[in-house]
Symmetry: C2
Subunit: 409 residues, 2 copies
């Protein structure tokens, strides 16, 4: 007998019929002899409806009161799902975040979970009940209702699984697993049977938005095996797990990409200690997030060239700031390009395989794709290229690393 | 500076505009120097919407889960009203029933309040905030969400007022006070400036449904002055208070009536101890509520005639049962009439004024109204008459006791 935490998002519980379908899935898991805890989101559309209502009344809704308001969405779902389970002969009991003491800090609308008291849930499980918990919400030390921010139900599920020492945390979503890359770009993209937490983190932050990053971090930190699978189709999904020493790793696991990059460069900056801060300080003061950063010594060696990327929406604002900085630092020029994309290969296999980077660059170059910037980490290599090369670049790398064949996994 | 608890029902908070109007009323009370606690219901229609959703899923919705579901209705309102108050510069903070520890028994959907912890509310009031509390809901000893049953927000307001030792509990409703009788029957009906708890209880249970009876009982028990007033019009409403010795009481305060009476009679029952139970036991076993009961010794003195009233909807069922009983007891006959109404005069002034009953009977007889049954209590006299006399009877008594003139009050 295993203890499983299942999480169903807003689309999966978006109507009475879908709630009934979820109840059948939950019951099936219980009938197979498992203890089951279910974490659910608000029915799709509900949260937005409540937010719209609040904005009619007060455009700057108080964060504390917003949390009181929108946490009702999940509370409706837990009651309805429990009733649907009871209807088909499956004993069930619902709990709000507050009722199972999902203790968070007091950062309303983006609170972080600090502790969960699993005692009451454990007692229900032992009594043979399915326990249905409201995702996305908790309470702070004062007993005020908090929410974890959009997508926070994933985090709730993982935190529940950690607190209960569950055997597996299953995240049901509208995709049937994690793919080697986006199938809309590369039709040969293949579902991965497993992926490591570290790879998943790199994939998620790079644009393969299957799971909330925080949930994956949480799962990694608390050793909770995580499985992504489809609410609507049968299948095993993708298991996100720890790297096993014995595992014969593929060189790389997947190809992530990000369409909305803009590149900014400041040329001929007199080089002295602290210049990076002088350039990036004003950008971050303007609340613009900087992604990749590359610095080169210029030909004359007394000046430096400095390049970084931002989200395309921030491009104009960032360029204006950079031009002011260029003047005050006596740099030669500030310029940029907002038609860039980032492509990354991700894989823990890189650690044990040499020459991955050169294999990547060779593949891109063989297709005439010019690389603008390069950035590497232990399990990831990213390149910035012109946006016209996005599809070609992804497909080229997918083939170069044989991601379409099962053997590579 | 006074501490006031205000309660607004579902119609009063039924739209964004109405919530904003309530916020203005609350702010006005605070601007006059009062500390204000507001208890609100779900926006009108919400509770029924949620119940319909539940019934789609499970016709016999588990009471525990139903309470989890429908308690979200008030939670939405408290958040929206708090935001509306903040919007107009009035600091406010919302609390669910659980958050202010409105402790109830575990009778889901009809729980009774056992205790309220006013400490947190008190601290907010001292900090200058308006406190907005969800009506109708509480938590039991296990931390499960409970609801008090329809209209329970009145009870919440009175219980909050009692716990906080408030100076007044104001119930805002769609009528502007308690009237001497229903103005739709007698256009000369007049709003009472004050009425005693006992009178109010008799009026409410007799069909003048302004307030939930339980709330009035609660207010009486905990010495909370209660005021009924209109959400939509200005005015002082009606103060429900204790009888003051110095008060010059009118003979009677109001005329209540009940349209839906049916009368049942069993004639010629052999009289012996326990016969009343033998007659009424089977009726109450069938879950039929009996209202008035009258027993007469029949002419021959060895048998008795027994008459009682039930709600018109229960008439046929009750008559069937009574006919069976008549046979088994060897009574002469069981018969009935489901076209009856009850008219009552209510007033604590009866205690100190003799001859009220005869004045009532005289007034009715002068209009040719035949009285079928009579029942009296310390502050109420009720008669059952044919339904065709309802309007005439009410108007006749309203005039006979000069209820249209201010002087009578």
């Amino acid at each position: 007998m295993a203890l499983i935490v299942q999480k169903y998002g807003g689309t999966s519980v978006g109507s009475v019929e879908r709630i009934q379908a979820v109840a059948e899935k939950v019951k099936a898991a219980r009938d197979r002899g498992n203890q089951v805890v279910v974490v659910v989101s608000a029915m799709s559309g509900q949260t937005n409806r409540l937010i719209a209502l609040a904005h009619e009344i007060n455009a700057e809704g108080d964060p504390r009161e917003m949390d009181v308001l929108i946490s009702t969405g999940e509370q409706v779902t837990i009651a309805l799902l429990s009733m649907a389970l009871q209807r088909i002969g499956c004993p069930a009991r619902s709990y709000t975040g507050g009722q199972v003491h999902i203790l968070t800090d007091s950062a309303h609308s983006k609170a972080r979970i600090q502790d969960i008291d699993g005692a009451r849930v454990q007692a229900d499980l032992e009594a043979g009940r399915v326990v249905v918990v409201a995702g996305f919400q908790g309470v702070d030390q004062q007993g005020d209702i908090t929410t974890l921010g959009r997508g926070g139900s994933d985090t709730t599920a993982v935190a529940m699984a950690a607190a209960l020492k569950a055997d597996e945390c299953q995240i049901y979503t509208d995709v049937d697993g994690v793919y080697t890359t986006d199938p809309r770009i590369e039709p040969k993209a293949r579902r991965l049977e497993r992926i490591t937490f570290e790879e998943m983190l790199e994939m998620a932050s790079l644009g393969s938005k299957v799971l909330q990053i925080r949930a994956v971090e949480f799962a990694g930190k608390y050793n909770v095996p995580l499985r992504v699978l489809s609410s609507f189709e049968e299948g095993e999904g993708t298991l996100i797990t720890f790297e096993e020493e014995s595992m014969e790793q593929a060189k790389i696991s997947g190809i992530a990409f990000n369409r909305d990059e803009a590149k900014l460069t400041i040329l001929g900056v007199p080089d002295h200690p602290g210049v990076a801060y002088q350039i990036l300080g004003p950008i971050s003061d303007a609340n613009i997030e900087v992604d990749m950063i590359v610095q080169n010594i210029a030909a004359d060696t007394s000046t430096t060239d400095f390049t970084f990327t931002v989200h395309r929406n921030d491009y104009k604002k960032a360029l204006g700031i950079l031009q002011t900085t260029a003047e005050s630092l006596g740099a030669r020029e500030a310029l940029g390009d907002d038609t860039m994309v980032k492509i990354s290969i991700v894989g823990v296999g890189m650690r044990s395989h040499a020459g991955i980077a050169s294999q990547m660059f060779e593949a891109l170059s063989s297709e005439g794709i010019n690389i603008n910037m390069i950035s590497t980490s232990e399990i990831k290599i990213s390149v910035v290229v012109d946006e016209k090369y996005l599809e070609l670049g992804v497909r080229t790398l997918h083939e170069a690393f044989s991601l379409d064949s099962e053997a590579a996994n």
